[in-house]
Subunit: 279 residues, 2 copies
């Protein structure tokens, strides 16, 4: 068995991210057994039918007791309590990670409960769709995959090998820096897209807007179809960092509006040029 391989993996939560992880490791033959745990039997059934897991259970002890690698893939706000629940059942050699969009509270809980064996993770890939039905074996292909080990003696090298084997790019970051950066590069774009969708609904019949849509509209509105349940949890979990990004964004947009109001062509072109990427 090479460094990135694990004999038996437990995926806790088989929605979009968990199912994609299962499909990715199984399609590459990196793992012998993948057991999926979920509260929803229909989600487990879908994950099983799609081949994302080789076994399904709603029994937490059964899911985790024999696993070499545990992957938490539930909504971020319920992750800490799930971590606490599995503590009595896990093998002393198991490695634990997660696929959550926020890291500070999860990594703090992981370190408290599991010490160096928990290494936070966040693949920078997703979809506006949700559930096991939307899982894709290639979801992580080419994506950055942030790892946030909190102990110097953690087995991060094994996880890095696995991440590379899935075609992703491992990147080590501190949990606080993760949350600050991800507020900017992921949570802010989601907030902006939700607000764009709201503005379209207010100013137009959405069907008319859709009928006229070009690529700038489609890109701007796509992620607003993401799950409101999942994303309200993520926004609140990373509230302070997201608020800082939103405030900075409001200032940038306000500045653009002010220049537009003056009608000053030279100033407007200078503003847009300042930040536009070179052609």
């Amino acid at each position: 068995m090479s460094e990135g391989d694990f004999g038996r993996v437990a995926i806790l939560g088989v929605g979009l991210m968990g199912a994609s992880f299962g499909l990715a490791v199984r399609s590459r033959g990196l793992v012998q057994e993948v057991v999926g745990y979920d509260l929803s039997e229909s989600m487990l059934q879908c994950a099983l039918e799609r081949g994302a897991i080789s076994e399904a259970t709603t029994d937490l002890e059964k899911a985790v007791s024999q696993a070499d690698l545990l992957v938490f893939a539930v909504p971020v706000e319920i992750m800490p309590s799930l971590m606490e629940s599995i503590l009595p059942f896990i093998s002393p050699s198991a490695i634990l990670t997660d696929l959550g969009s926020t890291k500070q509270r999860i990594v703090a809980e992981g370190a408290r409960l599991f010490g160096a064996r928990f290494i936070g993770g966040h693949p920078m890939a997703g979809s506006e769709e949700s559930g096991a039905k939307a899982g894709r074996a290639d979801l992580f292909q080419g994506a950055a995959w942030i790892l946030t080990p909190s102990h110097p003696e953690s087995e991060v090298a094994r996880l890095e090998s696995l991440v590379k084997a899935l075609g992703a790019r491992p990147l080590l970051l501190d949990a606080q820096e993760h949350d600050r950066m991800v507020a900017l590069v992921s949570h802010l774009p989601h907030a902006l897209s939700f607000s764009f969708s709201q503005t379209v609904s207010e100013l137009s019949k959405p069907a008319l807007a859709e009928s006229l849509a070009g690529s700038s509209y489609r890109d701007m509105i796509r992620v607003s179809a993401s799950s409101p349940q999942l994303w309200s949890g993520i926004f609140l979990e990373n509230r302070e960092a997201l608020l800082a990004s939103v405030v900075a964004y409001e200032e940038a947009l306000h500045c653009l509006r002010e220049v537009l109001q003056t009608g000053d062509r030279v100033a407007l072109e200078a503003l847009l040029s300042q930040y536009a990427k070179p052609q």
Copy 2:
């Protein structure tokens, strides 16, 4: 010759839009001759080499005097003066249209100068890239193509046939309604993307942000690479309608921020659910 065909077409301005129009009509064999006019000899050369035009000239009279269809594809703010310049040279049976992103002033000038023979047009397709080198024969495939005839006796049916032959969907709109809708579905997304790019530059090293980027980041930042020259012209040409969209957007984002600040999960989820598309 079928209804949508024209023997000789003149494209005035062979940047992204003009070159794409030339490639689209020539690759489908819809037109015998396509003459390109531009102030830039290198742009003409590129359009000629790529096959977007069959003839190139910097002589306006030569470009337009024999043309059955004239297509204005220059930046919106210089279109009215170019329309005035060609008036003495055009054939009395020529039809005229444009590919500009704003319509009210252009359509008013077209109606004044050419009467029913001018029919405003706006294909809802583009790219953050610019110039003839970025032209694509399939740019308009599947796109809405707004036509804004201002005279009841205009030959809009011939243009509709041509638009359909290019694989696009013709849509008739009044010029004022066009400008209001396009402020929302195209100009606002561009303004939001420019402001996002600015915020990223302020809060992060752009290279770090890029290295972490997932699809929500890429979708949000893509159009900020668009030409600042072109887009400052478009923004100012449609300033009032764009300002109304920006103000509505600022209110929507402010509302999201306020709910986020309260930390009220139920209210936040309700807000995001209200506008999220059904899964």
